[in-house]
C-alpha cells in the first residue's frame, strides 16, 4: 500500500469511529458528553484529512468553493444520520442538498442545481417536515435514541467506502492522465448520419467508416454533446438550458415520457393510499362476524 492508500484507510477508520461514537446507543442509553465530543472531534479530523485527497488543478477560487461545498455536504450528511431529533435530521439533509447544488454549479450543471434546490429543498423536505410534525407531536421518541446495530452498520458502510476509495486510488495512481473513452469528434461534419452500410445485410468487406468509431458516432448524437470548450464550433453558442432541453427531447424523449407517467402513477398511488377511510364501528364488526351478508356488503361499500 502506498501513501494515499494508508491515508484513505486512516481517514475512513477515523470517520467510522467518529460516526459510531456519534450514533445513538444500541439500547437507548444516554451517551456521555465526552463520548459525543470525541466522536465529533474524530469526525472533524476525518473531514479535514479527507480534503487532502482533493486535488486542485483549476484556479484558486473554484477550489475554495469546492472544498467548502464538499466539506459541508459530508459533514451535514454525518449530522443527518446522527441527529436524535428527526426535524433536525431533515434540516441537515436540506443542508446536504444545498451543498450538493453548489457542487453541481461548480461542475457546470446550473439547471440541475436550480432544479435540485426547487425539488428537494423546496418540496420533498417540506413534505418530510409535514409528516414529522403529523406523526411526532409529542417530543422525542424512544426509538430515535436507539440505533439498530450501529457497530455493524458503521462497519459495513465504511468498508464499502474503503473499497470505493481503493478502486479510485488504483485508477488514479498509475499515470495520472486517465483519458475518457469517448473519442473527441472535433467537427460537426463527423456527425452526419451515416447511411446503413451493406455489411449489416451481407457479410461483405468492412467499410472504412465502420467499427467502434462508427458505432460511437451514431450513438452519440450532436445534441448529446456538452457545450463546453471541447465541443465543435456550432455547439458553443447554444445556451445551457436550450441545449439541455434539446438533448432531453430528442435523445431521451422516451425516458422523459416514462418519467412523466411515473410521476402521475405515484400521485394516484399516494392519494389512494393516504386518504382517510371511514372508521369501522363495533356494531359493523359484530355484523361481519354474525355473517350478515347485506350488512357486510354495505360496510364494504362504505369503507371503500
Amino acid at each position: 500500500m502506498n501513501r494515499d492508500q494508508w491515508l484513505a484507510t486512516c481517514v475512513i477508520f477515523l470517520g467510522g469511529l467518529g460516526t459510531w461514537l456519534l450514533l445513538p446507543h444500541k439500547h437507548g442509553k444516554i451517551k456521555a458528553r465526552l463520548t459525543q465530543g470525541c466522536g465529533a472531534a474524530l469526525s472533524i479530523l476525518a473531514l479535514l484529512l479527507l480534503s487532502a485527497f482533493y486535488t486542485s488543478p483549476g484556479p484558486f477560487l473554484p477550489n475554495v468553493f469546492f472544498w467548502v461545498f464538499a466539506t459541508s455536504a459530508v459533514g451535514s450528511g454525518i449530522l443527518t444520520i446522527t441527529s436524535r431529533n428527526p426535524v433536525y435530521s431533515a434540516l441537515w439533509f436540506a443542508s446536504v442538498v444545498l451543498s450538493t447544488s453548489g457542487l453541481f454549479l461548480l461542475a457546470g450543471a446550473s439547471f440541475l442545481a436550480a432544479g435540485t434546490i426547487i425539488v428537494y429543498a423546496g418540496a420533498i423536505i417540506v413534505t418530510f417536515l409535514f409528516v414529522i410534525m403529523l406523526a411526532q407531536s409529542e417530543g422525542q421518541a424512544l426509538y430515535d435514541r436507539m440505533a439498530r446495530a450501529p457497530g455493524a452498520a458503521t462497519l459495513s458502510g465504511f468498508a464499502l467506502l474503503w473499497a470505493v476509495f481503493y478502486a479510485l486510488l488504483m485508477v488514479r495512481s498509475p499515470g495520472g492522465d486517465f483519458k475518457p473513452v469517448v473519442p473527441r469528434l472535433t467537427s460537426a461534419s463527423e456527425f452526419v448520419k451515416p447511411t446503413l452500410p451493406g455489411n449489416f445485410k451481407n457479410s461483405g468487406p468492412v467499410l472504412p467508416g465502420s467499427g467502434p468509431a462508427f458505432v460511437l458516432a451514431s450513438a452519440i448524437r450532436p445534441t448529446a454533446l456538452l457545450a463546453d470548450d471541447r465541443a465543435p464550433a456550432p455547439k458553443k453558442s447554444v445556451p445551457h438550458v436550450a441545449a439541455l432541453g434539446a438533448t432531453l427531447f430528442t435523445d431521451h424523449l422516451i425516458a422523459v415520457e416514462v418519467a412523466g407517467t411515473l410521476l402521475f402513477i405515484a400521485l394516484v398511488g399516494a392519494i389512494s393510499m393516504a386518504t382517510p377511510r371511514t372508521p369501522i364501528r363495533p356494531v359493523d364488526r359484530e355484523a361481519i362476524s354474525a355473517g350478515d351478508p347485506a350488512q357486510a356488503r354495505a360496510l364494504a361499500n362504505m369503507t371503500n
Binding site: 457542487l103 409528516v131 452519440i220 448529446a224 432531453l248 393510499m273
Partner: protein
C-alpha cells in the same frame, strides 16, 4: 476543462455521501430518517453522475440525474403516504415494530423486541387501496336534472 483529478474529487464526495447514507439507513430506526438516508444515497450518485457527464463531455449524466430527481420525488410521495398509513396502524414511526414482515427463520433485527414501543393493535379488517376497474362507471349519485327523460 475538466481533468481527471477534478473528476476524482467529485467521485470521492459522491462515495462518501453514499456510504454515510447507507450507514444511516442501516442504523436508524425512525422510518423518516431511514428515507432521508436513502435520499442522501441518491444525492451521492447524482454528484458522481454529474461529474462523469462533465468529464466525458456529454449531457447524459445530467439527464440521468434529472430522471433520478423525478424518481426520488415519486418515491417520496409514495413513501410518505405509506409512512402515514403505517403510523395510523401502530401510532409509532419505529421500523422494528414491523418485525413480523421479515422472512421466516430470520433473527430479530432488534435483540430485545420488548425494548421497542408496544404496538397498539388496530382492530378491523385489513384495508387496502381500492381502485375502480377501468371501463366501469363508478357509482355516484345522479342529480335530478341529470336523469334521462321518460
Amino acid at each position: 476543462m475538466f481533468p481527471f483529478d477534478l473528476l476524482a474529487n467529485y467521485l470521492i464526495v459522491g462515495a462518501a455521501l453514499m456510504a454515510i447514507g447507507m450507514v444511516g439507513f442501516l442504523a436508524r430506526r425512525n422510518l423518516i430518517v431511514m428515507f432521508l438516508s436513502a435520499e442522501m444515497m441518491l444525492q451521492g450518485v447524482a454528484v458522481t453522475l454529474v461529474g462523469f457527464g462533465r468529464f466525458h463531455g456529454n449531457w447524459t449524466g445530467q439527464v440521468f440525474t434529472i430522471i433520478i430527481l423525478t424518481v426520488a420525488a415519486s418515491e417520496a410521495a409514495i413513501a410518505l403516504a405509506l409512512v402515514l398509513v403505517l403510523f395510523k396502524r401502530r401510532s409509532s414511526l419505529d421500523v422494528s415494530l414491523w418485525n413480523d414482515l421479515r422472512e421466516p427463520g430470520l433473527p430479530l433485527s432488534v435483540e430485545n423486541p420488548d425494548e421497542a414501543e408496544a404496538p397498539e393493535i388496530v382492530p378491523g379488517p385489513e384495508s387496502y387501496p381500492h381502485l375502480t376497474v377501468a371501463g366501469i362507471e363508478p357509482p355516484h349519485p345522479r342529480q335530478p336534472w341529470e336523469r334521462p327523460r321518460d
